[in-house]
Amino acid sequence: MNEGDTLVIESGYYEFEDGLSLDVSNVTIKGEGMEKTILDFKNQQSGAQGFLVTSDKVTLRDFAILDAKGDALKVIGSNGINMINLRTEWTGGPKSTNGAYGFYPVESEDVLIDGCVAIGASDAGIYVGQSKNIIVRNSIAQYNVAGIEIENSYYADVYNNLASHNTAGILVFDLPDLPQQGGHHIRVFDNKSIDNDTDNFAPEGNIVGEVPRGTGIIVMANSDVEIFDNLMSGNGTVNLSIVSYSDETDDPNYYPHPKRIQVHSNTYGPSGFDPDLETGDLAKALYEISNGNMPDIFWDGVVPISQMVFGQPEDEKLIMEEENKVSFLTISPIKYMLGFTNPTRTDKKEFKGVINPLEPIVIDGI
């Protein structure tokens, strides 16, 4: 292919023994539909992913990538990548031997994932890592460990997606010891994160392997995150969880706590009815501290030691504007450490405040 080309892959079933790769900029690769143009990798012998993109201004649309040995579609360092109406799937159902990611843009800028379907990834169906300026919309993520994950990324809109029957629906994470960290400015809105009821099948060692079955949305160690107008329901552990990174790290450039998180106007259905006490610490800790009375929204309350003593700066506080019936629980670390019989706080009113909407994400030409 040369710059400016459009390659059409006609309907049909195409089997590959080796990974595909694209390193030409300004091109479109187009199938005839995610149910019609099928790239099948079940007999893959080489290549760490089904399809690798390393060039700029690329549009991929209307085809499916099935049963890749590693990640299905990986995009490294692309400036302008559109993934539209694509499907990535592992057809044998949720298995730890499935590839890690369905959609995996990393170190990229201007990333669009629109109308895509991701099924069966052993880490995240849709994963955007260490990227900037991101839109993930109108997509479906099912039977993955994490449905949609935005990690160590700046400026993302995640909206109008359905995340269901995953272990966890939508994750906004930040991790230490990486070239890009300090994830911030993430809007998660108008999504349905419902019935996430698949046992965690991630291989151990991965951060998502710690996520309990039945979580709607988790925000970890990001700043400026706005969660609004979502439906979270049928999540057996907890609908919404806001937490710090809890493992040890000696990375001096890493900030492990969430700050400036705004939560408003979401709809909460049943949750906490089947907490996954077997996976990670989150569900177990929450179950113990709430005496089994699991809230809709949980904040772990962990802040830097100085803030435990002197309080959080006003402009870094969690703000919540939700209906009265929505239940909430947080832990007061000081009370917890001093051995109070009830170290929790459950009154949302203390977290009321003025919502400062984050700016929408704009990608030129979209």
């Binding site: 694209l22 490294i76 990834a121 060692g205």
Partner: protein
């Protein structure tokens, strides 16, 4: 006898007029045949033009036990510039040439070899470009393979055992997976420190850097250069051997400027931070590559270390490096296993 001398003279005259095709190195497209470049007098026998200088690296990348022969070509009256801790800055028109082959029988070189592919890195005006030429079955010519090629090949190893491999000639994009720094294509091997060793030339044994100076293809090199050790040299310190191996096998991607920089695992020779070298470092986007293990390296526990797990694996979704390997490098695995086992907590 007189006839033979005449033929020899004619042959020598031919050779003198025979020159590497500089225009083709610089051209926008790659020619179909390797012989068009005229790097070799005798293509099949890989006898190089006198301006095409053979070289070796102290430690090499494992490529399924294949053998590699390397040559460097720098256009006349030009020199590559020395760069500290980096590959020489070769002038436009330079070429790095590498032929991959298996001997028919490792116990007996006289039985010949099976040439698989010749990879080229060509320094054009716009920068380096990579391409590979795969040898035909007759071993008379190598043809350009932009999309790569699969070669099922077998050979007899030192133990007299028949070995087989599904050898992959990389496609041009895969070349860039490893040969990339800051998103630009680059050579990996010919850093001054990597070639600081003796080599037996037709005209005798010399240090390669000294020879390159003498042939006037480089401008300079430091005399106090610190070089990695040959990882196969068991008389050397274990840590030095392992770091040398990891540098050349992993460090081109696993460095802050390489293709795997998003992992935070850095295995190039200059890295000194334990976490970034993998010690108690958690996987990031490893997926099932982790094999259910929690850290890249657990000191004292090689079987709990993801790094070793991925060196051993032959599953495309797990194995490292991601491309260029279909077999496990047993000797290196043993060395790294011992290194982790002896590592202090």
């Amino acid at each position: 006898m007189k006839n033979t001398v005449q033929i020899l003279i004619v042959l020598m005259l031919c050779m003198r007029s025979f020159a590497v095709n500089d225009n083709l190195i610089m051209a926008e497209t790659f020619p179909k045949k390797l012989s068009d470049f005229a790097f070799f007098y005798d293509n099949s026998a890989q006898v190089p033009h006198e301006d095409v200088i053979p070289y070796e690296l102290i430690s090499t990348l494992f490529s399924d036990y294949s053998y590699k022969q390397r040559w460097v070509y720098v256009p006349n009256n030009k020199k590559a510039k020395y760069k500290e801790s980096w590959v020489f800055d070769f002038p436009i028109g330079s070429a790095l040439i590498k032929t991959f082959y298996y001997p028919v029988d490792e116990r007996n070189p006289e039985l010949g070899k099976n040439l698989l592919e010749t990879r080229l890195l060509l320094r054009k005006e716009s920068g380096w470009e990579a391409v590979s030429y795969a040898w035909n079955d007759e071993q008379t010519e190598a043809f350009k393979k932009v999309a790569g090629k699969t070669i099922n090949v077998s050979w007899i190893d030192f133990m007299g055992e028949e070995k087989e491999v599904r050898y992959r000639v990389p496609n041009v994009n895969q070349c860039k997976e490893c040969h990339a720094a800051n998103d630009k294509t680059t050579p990996i091997g010919p850093k001054a420190r990597n070639i600081n060793k003796e080599f037996t030339y037709k005209d005798g044994e010399f240090n390669q850097l000294a020879y390159w100076m003498d042939r006037q293809i480089i401008d300079n090199y430091p005399l106090d250069l610190v070089s990695p050790v040959d990882w196969t040299d068991e008389s050397q310190n274990m840590n030095d051997r392992v770091r040398s191996y990891l540098d050349v096998n992993c460090g081109h991607c696993h460095s802050p400027t390489g293709n795997a920089n998003s992992t935070g695992l850095y295995l190039h020779l200059n890295e000194t931070r334990d976490t970034h070298l993998g010690v108690y470092k958690k996987p990031v986007a490893t997926g099932r590559g982790s094999g259910g293990l929690k850290y890249s390296i657990v000191p004292g526990k090689p079987d709990e270390s993801i790094l070793l797990h991925r060196m051993i694996s032959m599953d495309p979704g797990v194995m490292m490096p991601e491309s260029g390997r279909a077999l496990t490098h047993e000797e290196a695995v043993e060395m790294v296993r011992e290194w982790i086992l002896l590592m202090e907590n």
